[in-house]
């Protein structure tokens, strides 16, 4: 069984970069702060280049079943680099670049250890890059854990801050429980199907007979496990506290990279593995989506702290992203929404990191557009996109895609719930936007260049997706 090293190149590059950053931090302590950041950026850009090359070529699979064991003829590759993988790897890696740039100012300001920060970030990204390519349940779980474990440490990295430790502990406990639940679900699925490869599970799921209830239980438990990672109601309780306690760049990481990778894993499991049971989990996901967007939006309305507001809004957004998954064939709508959400939400976080100050409230953003027209204008644009109104076309297209998938699937009631929710969402985004444009005077220093580049990258992505959204539409795992 040969390994296609080209197919796994992005993952290997990120992993090697992580180790390199750690080594530099160990042996060159003096100048490590700058070096770690630059090393991380180089690694991420190289990985992006590899992803781009992979996307230009045909889909590649590796770690497949040997020819003589295939039996039914399914290749059953554990790691596939196709268009779907490429799009998600690109999202995750570009978002990683933006997070590194965001952290450049935050690391010295809050005395985070630079070497550890970048090492942990790259390790976590390694998990994310692997998760979006995985095609069997074990690879999924392992890469999900590789993604999550370093994040506990990242959240707790502000060692002198008790709230940071509390946030990390909360996330750790909930995450470990969710992993346990998911593993239990996987064991049930393995028990009834006898395989862990997603493509083989689809053929082996017993739809009737004595094993059917066991199958349903296994599927539901696996989905619940993913529910924690993507923070949909009722598995969301850790998110607001953790976002609030963590450094802002780590909160951005959680709300964009971790969520995007989690959704990629969920789409893979549903679209490739559990689709024959769509009749059972479809309505469940639709209800979860409706509850998630409603609860997220209603609570967000009452938030005055920006990071908490973004946390609740990203719970609501997770509801929109989840909505099409209840429909068979709704995957591409979710992919598009996740891609567009990543760009606009990351942009909002990048401006929040620039304005800085933990626990900042909406009122701290008064007059931002007049004092910093570019950053303020960009934030207004990101928020308009999140609300899904023109001229924020990217967000509007994402919403239309989700509405379309939901209506196609016959969930008219869910579409109406979404319609009401867009109104609630607009309410709090507008509250924030209105403050940006109002008069106010907070004396703000010059904009550091890396933060400016971070905002610029997110803005370029959001604008590009507004003009040519086709880039991220119509993509599903091969």
């Amino acid at each position: 069984m040969g390994i296609d090293y080209f197919a796994i190149a992005p993952m290997v590059i990120v992993a090697v970069a992580a180790l390199a950053v750690l080594a530099v931090d160990l042996f060159v302590p003096g100048r490590a702060r700058e070096a770690a950041g630059i090393g991380a950026l180089i690694g991420l850009v190289l990985a992006l280049a590899a992803t781009a090359f992979l996307m230009a070529g045909p889909p590649r699979g590796t770690f497949c079943w040997p020819e003589d064991l295939r039996g039914t003829g399914l290749a059953s590759c554990s790691f596939v680099a196709d268009e779907f993988t490429g799009v998600f790897q690109a999202i995750v890696l570009v978002a990683g670049v933006v997070v590194v740039l965001m952290a450049h100012a935050e690391i010295p300001a809050t005395s985070l250890p630079s070497g550890e920060f970048h090492f942990l970030l790259l390790s976590s990204l390694t998990g994310a890059v692997t998760l979006v390519a995985s095609r069997d349940l074990v690879t999924s779980v392992v890469s999900l854990e590789v993604l999550t474990l370093p994040v506990f440490a990242l959240v707790a990295l502000r060692r002198h801050d008790g709230r940071s430790a509390e946030a990390a502990l909360k996330m750790f406990l909930i995450s470990v429980v969710s992993t346990a639940i998911m593993l239990f679900g996987i064991s049930l699925v393995y028990g009834v199907t006898g395989t862990l490869q997603l493509d083989r599970i689809a053929g082996a799921l017993p739809l009737t007979g004595p094993a059917a209830p066991l199958t349903s239980a296994g599927v539901v438990l696996v989905l619940a496990g993913f529910g924690f990672k993507i923070a949909v109601v009722p598995f969301h309780f850790w998110a607001p506290d953790t976002y609030d306690g963590a450094p802002i760049s780590v909160a951005a990481f959680l709300s964009v990279i971790s969520k995007a990778a989690g959704f990629a894993g969920l789409i893979l499991v549903l679209d490739k593995g559990f689709w024959p049971l769509a009749g059972e989990w479809g309505p469940v996901l639709a209800v979860l989506a409706a509850v998630s967007m409603t609860v997220g939006n209603l609570v967000a309305v009452r938030q005055r702290q920006v990071v908490r507001l973004l946390a609740w809004s990203s719970i609501a957004q997770a509801g929109y992203m989840l909505a099409p998954l209840g429909v068979l064939g709704g995957g591409p709508a979710t992919v598009a929404y996740v891609a567009i959400y990543s760009a606009m939400n990351l942009g909002a976080f990048a401006v929040v990191a620039l304005v800085g100050r933990r626990g900042a409230t909406l009122d701290d953003y008064r007059g931002l557009v007049r004092e910093r027209p570019l950053a303020g204008g960009a934030l207004a644009f990101f928020l308009i996109c999140l609300a899904g109104l023109p001229p924020g076309l990217a967000g509007l297209f994402a919403k239309i895609a989700v509405f379309g998938a939901v209506v196609n699937g016959g969930y008219g009631w869910l579409a109406l719930v979404m319609a009401v929710n867009t109104v609630i969402g607009l309410y709090y985004y507008l509250t924030w936007i209105a403050r940006l444009f109002s008069a106010g005077s907070a004396n703000r220093g010059p904009m550091p260049r890396p933060a400016g580049i971070a905002i610029g990258v997110a803005l370029a992505g959001t604008v590009a997706l507004s003009v040519v959204p086709q880039l991220v539409f119509g993509i599903s795992p091969s």
Binding site: A336, P390, I400, F403, G404, G412, Y427
Partner: protein
């Protein structure tokens, strides 16, 4: 050419943002002037004998959503395009006056230009989703105009406007997607030519409920109108003019363009409801106006009544009724725009629009302003020979003979109520005139009569009101071929 119609204001919006602040207002006039030139050029090359969309552009935009950048103009949309371009220019001219010059003119002009893109785009879009995108595009600029340059309660009014109408948009989108799902196309012309073929009766009723319901918020139809009085009252003059003159027309335009031709069975089932809400709106607005103490609020409420007439006309599902509604659209656009301009002028001079504080005697203090107010009010209450007359007269004629499948006695009842409504309209407008224009002025307040800019901004509207009133065929002849094409089944 049709792309230029949208590109000119869009580029203008960007251009204004990079220009220095003091050139912004002049740039606004140039941009809206050029747009009007394009619109007039379109009207010149337009072939008035044809019923289908002309000057068409069709480019795929987002294939995965079946969204096409498909534009075209026909008899129904051409008058509205001209009205929009004209009112935008007049607003730009009006804002140039020293007394009404907005603070922070740069964002003000940029927002007006962006608003114009959305308004024009809505009327020329030939793809259901593109129509929706443009319809949404007007919301934020209008919100920002009200919230940024409005009256004392602007924040709440602006929020109510955008949240309420966004709810309408969401429901509308569901309806549009439902149509797209069951027919496999979003091309308005193709769908209209099918006249509901391939759509079951249930689907049609559901889709009509969603589409008409969403549009009814924008129109606004009683009882979904409650955002309107606040938004109109708090908006700056240019905002009120465009809100009443153009934005309200998008709802009725959408009904005529999308809901009725594409979903004829749904329309037949729900038209009586539409008509009932229409006449309820006429009476409600009449009574509300009689009780109004504020001039601007009175003009705002009167829109609900006029829109009620248009809805009644549309609900007859006859060419006469729909032509009348489209005529009324333009007439209301011209007259209400004029009235809001005049109210803006009154407010500037008195510092208030409260009828009790205004006292009377406008005609002696500022005779030209007073006479224009009389002209606007009289035209609005539907005196023959002026624009307001034909729309309402033809609507009532259509209600006397509603389309096939509709209960005739019901429409006769509507006709009776609408008739009573015209009396109410006359009553409140004349009462308003008596309190503001006539009589002696309570205090020796002195202020100037019409200024140059006011004269320039208002004359075109007066002329338009006269032309439409004296020569209605000029307008009805444009809309009629398209309306017949949209309505006639299997024709």
């Amino acid at each position: 050419m049709i792309v230029a119609l949208l590109a000119v204001p869009l580029l203008g919006c960007v251009l204004v943002l990079v220009l220095p602040e003091r050139r912004a207002l002049a740039a606004g006039i140039v941009v809206s002037g050029l747009t009007l030139v394009v619109a007039v050029a379109m009207a010149v090359v337009f072939d008035y004998g044809r019923a289908d969309a002309q000057l068409a552009v069709d480019v795929p935009w987002v294939p995965a959503l079946a969204l096409r950048f498909q534009l075209g103009v026909d008899g129904v949309s051409l008058p509205l395009v001209l009205l929009t371009a004209l009112l935008s220019l007049l607003c730009a001219v009006y804002s140039l006056r020293p007394a009404a010059r907005p603070s922070r003119p740069k964002p003000f002009v940029a927002l007006l230009a962006l608003l114009e893109v959305g308004m024009l785009g809505t009327f020329v879009a030939q793809d259901l989703l593109l129509f929706f995108v443009f319809l949404e595009l007007v919301l934020l600029p209008m919100y920002a105009l009200i919230a940024g340059w409005g009256g004392t309660n602007r924040g709440a009014a602006a929020r109510m406007f955008i949240l309420y109408t966004l709810l309408g948009s969401g429901v509308l989108l569901v309806g549009l997607l439902l149509v797209g799902l069951h027919t496999g196309t979003l091309d308005m012309a193709v769908l209209a030519a099918r006249h509901g073929e391939g759509l079951s009766r249930t689907t049609q009723v559901l889709a009509f409920l969603a589409i008409a319901g969403g549009l009814a918020v924008k129109t606004p139809m009683w009882p979904l109108h409650s955002w309107l009085p606040a938004a109109h009252t708090e908006a700056p003059t240019a905002g009120s003019v465009l809100l009443a003159g153009v934005l309200l027309k998008m709802g009725t335009y959408g009904l005529v363009r999308i809901a009725i031709p594409i979903l004829p069975d749904g329309a037949a089932v729900l038209a009586p409801v539409l008509g009932a809400c229409g006449v309820a709106g006429i009476v409600y607005a009449g009574l509300a106006c009689l009780a109004q103490r504020d001039l601007k609020r009175l003009v705002a409420f009167s829109s609900v009544g006029h829109m009620g007439f248009l809805l009644l006309g549309i609900s007859t599902l006859t060419p006469v009724g729909i032509n009348a509604a489209l005529f009324g659209n333009i007439a209301h656009g011209v007259l209400t725009a004029l009235l809001f301009f005049l109210v803006g002028g009154v407010k500037e001079r008195y510092g208030s629009t409260d009828l009790r504080q205004l006292g009377g005697g406008l005609l002696t203090t500022a005779p030209r302003l007073g006479s224009l107010l009389v002209f606007g009010a009289v035209a609005s209450l539907g005196v023959p020979g002026l624009a307001g007359f034909w729309g309402e007269m033809l609507v009532m004629q259509a209600a006397y003979a509603p389309g096939p499948g509709l209960t005739r006695w019901l429409y006769l009842v509507y006709l009776g109520i609408a008739g009573a409504g015209t009396v109410l309209t006359a009553a409140y407008l004349l009462a308003m005139l008596r309190r503001v224009v006539y009589g002696v002025r309570p205090s020796p307040r002195q202020f100037g009569d019409l200024t140059r800019h006011e004269f320039a901004a208002w004359t075109p509207l007066v002329v338009a009101a006269l032309v439409a009133g004296l020569w209605p065929r000029a307008l009805l002849g444009v809309t009629d071929p398209t309306v017949r094409m949209l309505l006639v089944r299997g024709g």
